[in-house]
């Protein structure tokens, strides 16, 4: 059944923001968009409000809005980790991000790999960081599509085969076109609309629905009854004895990983001054509060007896449709149409920023570094625009050709592997003590150990013996055949374990390399660069300043 009124509301809003996306190219125009700093960072001129909407629109994605409440719907308290994760992320990154902003501003860095290149003088290490970023971002974009598709299928566009993916394809073609034309200005402008819609929808839902369903106590009662009826000991409205360590390490590990994602950093580097970043670290948690309320809709869906829709392309029930179905069943057509549009547009903003970040990585750290070292700014911008198209095509193919579950697995792996760049990117902001080749060794060790651990986690729900999630029972933790915690059912987040291995290897290898007298490489940053700020009163000079080289 096609829900016509919802579809009309959705289409009107969608067409509206697409027009905004195209017009964004003329928003506060630079002399030309044919420069990577203009196309890929909006000229580094965004103020507090724009940055707030941009980073908020970037981090709190459509996938978050549909998938994490679905986690609470399915497993209970463990899914709530997203809230403490969002709470500790900002105090955690408050100081390092300021240093990153300053050094990137002074040296014209566009990506985290640019910084690593400048800090260590090591193209190899920069390449590893760039590839990690690309691999972690690609499935993330694919998942935005999965979020958008959950909404489209709820509205009745639930066809089988290639035809079923057609609406998605059209939506993404439009997105690709205006990202190509307007660069980072497009998602920055659209983020306003998206966030206002999301705020309205969530606030109405969390006030109206509990009143309608008999209050929070009966909602939590219904959830409690559901989890008590299942044989699994892992679910429930409170944490069990075995998943508390997982809850803590997952929240902390995700917070560590958050601003290592290239797209998160893109929003930060696009801001105008240090104070803009500082103010945003205070103001961004407004989204976290919203996120917490939204997560609880997973329980509301239990109390409202929502059933997931069967995806006609895969033939399985799609739990991502829980939240869209909740809106469709509990609200009138107009409001559910707005809610669907909010989620749909919520997919476009991060997908645009992520593809821009991925394109920046490709252009700066692979194309310019290895293929065309003499590329002009115009060629760089051209290359990035093309790369952003390519990245989106790849993401669409992921959804159309491969089982969506595969994207979910890949995204899970993405979070675990992006955290492996922490020593080279975040620690390097404070100290250059770790040796560049030791960082390479640590990356290799952490990455391979992480993938190995993910490989051996079984998934009891689907019967698969591999890639069954990121929660590892300590019992299965092996170090070259040695089981330090044999018999323990306590779970821990894989990314955290692998990061510890990465750090230990980096430290040990640093001692070894230094004893052997291996060259340290050149540091093109100076200590003062990490505190530099833009002048309050702008002077008519070019944006990208080139600073003098200084060796340590």
């Amino acid at each position: 059944m096609i829900r016509v009124p919802e579809l009309v509301v959705f289409t009107v809003l969608f067409v509206g923001v697409s027009a905004l996306g195209f017009l964004a190219a003329r928003w506060r125009t630079a002399p030309s968009l044919d420069h990577l700093e203009e196309w890929g960072l909006g000229g580094r001129r965004f103020g507090s409000w724009i940055t707030w909407f941009l980073i908020g629109g970037d981090l709190y994605t459509a996938y978050t809005f549909v998938a994490v409440p679905a986690l609470l719907f399915g497993a209970g308290a463990t899914g709530f980790f997203a809230l403490p994760y969002a709470v500790v992320a900002y105090p955690l990154v408050f100081l390092p991000l300021l240093r990153m902003w300053s050094v990137a501003r002074v040296h014209g860095y566009v990506t985290p790999a640019d910084f690593v290149r400048g800090r260590y003088g090591s193209p190899t290490l920069a390449l590893l960081v760039a590839i990690t970023g690309l691999v972690a971002t690609m499935p993330y974009i694919a998942l935005q599509l999965a979020g958008l598709e959950a909404v489209l299928r709820t509205m009745g566009l639930n066809g089988a085969g290639l035809l079923g993916h057609l609406p998605l394809l059209i939506a993404f073609l439009v997105l690709a076109a205006y990202t190509y034309q307007s660069g980072l200005r497009a998602p920055a402008l659209i983020a306003f609309v998206k966030d206002i819609l999301i705020y309205i929808v969530v606030l109405v839902a969390v006030i109206y629905l509990p009143i309608r369903l008999g209050g929070w106590s009966s909602i939590f009662g219904a959830a409690d009854a559901k989890f008590a009826a299942t044989p699994s000991p892992a679910d429930g409205v409170l944490l069990g004895g075995n998943n508390q360590l997982q809850y803590i390490t997952l929240a902390f590990g995700s917070a560590l990983a958050l601003f290592l994602y290239p797209h998160a950093l893109t929003g930060v580097l696009a801001s105008r001054r240090r104070d803009v970043v500082r103010r945003n670290m205070v103001a961004l948690p407004a989204y976290s509060f919203l996120l917490g309320l939204l997560l609880l809709l997973g329980y509301v869906a239990i109390a409202a007896h929502v059933q997931p829709i069967t995806n006609n392309a895969t033939g399985r029930p799609d739990t991502n449709t829980i939240i869209p179905m909740l809106f469709a069943e509990q609200f009138g057509s107009l409001f559910s149409g707005i809610a669907f549009a909010a989620i749909g547009i919520g997919a476009l903003v991060p997908a645009a920023i992520m593809s821009i970040a991925a394109a920046n990585l490709w252009t700066r750290n692979i194309y310019k570094e290895y293929l065309r070292p003499d590329a002009t700014p115009v060629q760089e911008a051209k290359q990035a625009k093309l790369a952003s198209l390519l990245v989106k095509v790849g993401a669409v193919l992921c959804i159309v050709l491969i089982d969506p579950q595969f994207s979910v697995d890949l995204q899970l792996i993405g979070g675990v592997i992006i955290i492996q760049t922490l020593p080279a990117v975040a620690i390097a902001l404070y100290t250059r003590w770790l040796h560049r080749w030791a960082l390479v060794a640590g990356w290799v060790a952490g990455m391979s150990y992480a993938l190995y651990l993910l490989w051996i986690i079984p998934n009891p729900a689907t019967g698969s013996v591999h890639f069954g999630g990121s929660a590892l029972a300590l019992d299965r933790l092996t170090l070259l055949g040695w089981h330090p915690f044999a018999g323990s059912p306590v779970q821990i987040y894989v990314g955290f374990v692998a990061l510890v291995v990465n750090l230990v290897v980096s430290v040990v290898a640093t001692f070894a390399l230094r004893a052997a007298g291996v060259a340290e490489g050149e540091d093109s940053t100076a200590p003062g660069d990490y505190h530099a700020d833009a002048d309050p009163d702008p002077r008519p000079e070019p944006v990208a300043a080139t600073a003098g080289m200084s060796t340590r």
Partner: protein
């Protein structure tokens, strides 16, 4: 890498400010043994949920205090952009 903990390791000009230590306070929410209980409830919500929601404004207050108390520090300048950029922020209409 909570910043304050990584300072003083000799990579040049690291600026110590005791106010930054406050940034460690929000991390207390990760102590699940303290919060993983149902009582006392608020509006029918178990303690586990409302305390984590309440922790959001609390953490905002902490970060805001650090922001206000450390904002005087100024570093060397880099040239700003060619345009007065953020019309929406300043209310200007260029």
């Amino acid at each position: 890498m909570s910043g304050s903990a990584d300072r003083g390791n000799g990579s040049g000009e690291l600026r110590w400010n005791a106010w930054n230590l406050l940034l460690l306070v929000p991390f207390l929410i990760l102590g699940t043994p303290w919060i993983n209980v149902a009582e006392p409830r608020l509006l029918g919500m178990p303690f586990f949920y409302w305390v984590q929601l309440a922790w959001v404004p609390f953490s905002v207050a902490i970060v805001a205090v650090v922001h206000v108390r450390t904002r005087g520090e100024r570093g060397p300048s880099v040239p700003a952009g060619p345009d007065d950029v953020d019309a929406l922020d300043t209310g200007a209409t260029r």
